[in-house]
Amino acid sequence: MSHHLFLLSPSDTPLYSLSHQSTKQGASASSPLGANLPTWSTSPFSGRMSALAGAPNTAMQSAGLGGGAAGGQDRLNALRMVANASLDVLENVVFRDNGMYLKGLDKFNEWTVSAFVTAGNMKFILLHEGKNDDGIRGFFFEVWELYVKTMANPFHSAHTPIRSPVFDHRVRASAKRYL
C-alpha cells in the first residue's frame, strides 16, 4: 500500500512531496501501483503541466505502464493531478468545516485523498489506498510538528520549498511508523 504526501503552501505552491511504500497491511494484489516509485522528489512542478498534457488519463489503470521509469513519472504526475483536483473540494470543505484533519476528502478510482489544513492555510495532502484514519491522523500531526520546526528556521519562508534532509528523514521515519 503506497502513500503520497504533498505539502502545499498557502498560495498552493508545492513545497515538498514524498512517496512512501507501506510495509504494514498487505496491498491488494491487483494494484499496479505496487511497483517501485521514485522515493521522493522535489522536482519543480513547472514541468507538471506539460507532463500532464502528455500523460494518458488512464495511466494508473494500465498495468503496462508500471515498471519503467518513464511510466513511474507519468504515474506520479497523474497522482499530482489528482491531488490538485482535490484542492477544490478541500476549499469547499474548509469553508464549512472548522477541523484541521479532513479525511476521505475525495476519491479517484482506488485512491482516497485526505487532507490536513493548518491555521496558516498550509495544506498537507495525502493520497492513499484503503482506510487508515487513525494512522493517517497521527501521521499528519507529526508532519505538522516537523513543519512547525522547519518554519522556525529564519531562512525559511512560507513559500520556500523544503529541502532540508533532516526534515525529509524525519517525515520518512514518521511515515514508517504510522502508515
Binding site: 520546526k149 522556525a152 528556521n153 529564519p154 531562512f155 532540508s164
Partner: protein, 204 residues
Amino acid sequence: MASNVKQYKAIGEELWKGRSEKINAELFALTYGALVVQLIQDYEDYDEVNKQLEKMGYNIGTRLIEDFLARSGMGRCSDFREVGEVIAKVGFKTFLNITPSVVHALPPSPTPNRQSNPTPSQPSFTLTLDENPLTEFVELPEDALEGGLWFSNVLCGVIRGALEMVQMQVQAEFVSDVLRGDESSEIRVKLVKYLEEEVPVGDD
C-alpha cells in the same frame, strides 16, 4: 585554581538566578534569526554580514561590560587565563545561561632558544559552545554555507567590545560552527595587547 573555577561557576549561577527579567528563548532566537536574514538581504555579501554582526556585537559588548561588572562586582582579572575563565563561567552564564568550556593556549615561558618557538607570543583561549540559544531552529541554506556566514558572529563582537572596555585589545573569531557542519562551535579569543589609559580625544 580549581577552587576559583568552582567559585566562578557559583557566581555565574547566582547571577543568572538573580536576574528578574528573563526573556523567552524562542522569541530571542527568532528575533536574532530575523535580524541575520534581514542583514543578508540588505548586504547580499556574507563577509559583509559577518562584519556587521561583529560590529553590532562590539557595540553591545561595550555596554554589557558595565552591567556585568556592576552586578557581579568582580575585580580585575590577574591574567589572561582568568579572563577566559570568567567570560566562560560567569559572563556567558549570566546572560545566556550557557557555560562554554575553555581551553587555554598560553605561550610557553621565554627560553633562550627563540628560533624553535613557533607558537605566537599572544595568549589565547578557545571557547567551545556545546549549545547555542541563538541557533535554536536554524539550518543554513546552501549559499550561506558557501558564502562563509558565521551565524553567531555577534558573540565575537560582544567579547571584543567588552574586553576593550577593560583595557584589553583582543581578536575574537569563530573557528568552527555546528551550523556549518563542523563538530563543535568554537570561538578563539586572542590577546593583541593591553591598552594603556589614553587621554580622551579633545582634551588638552
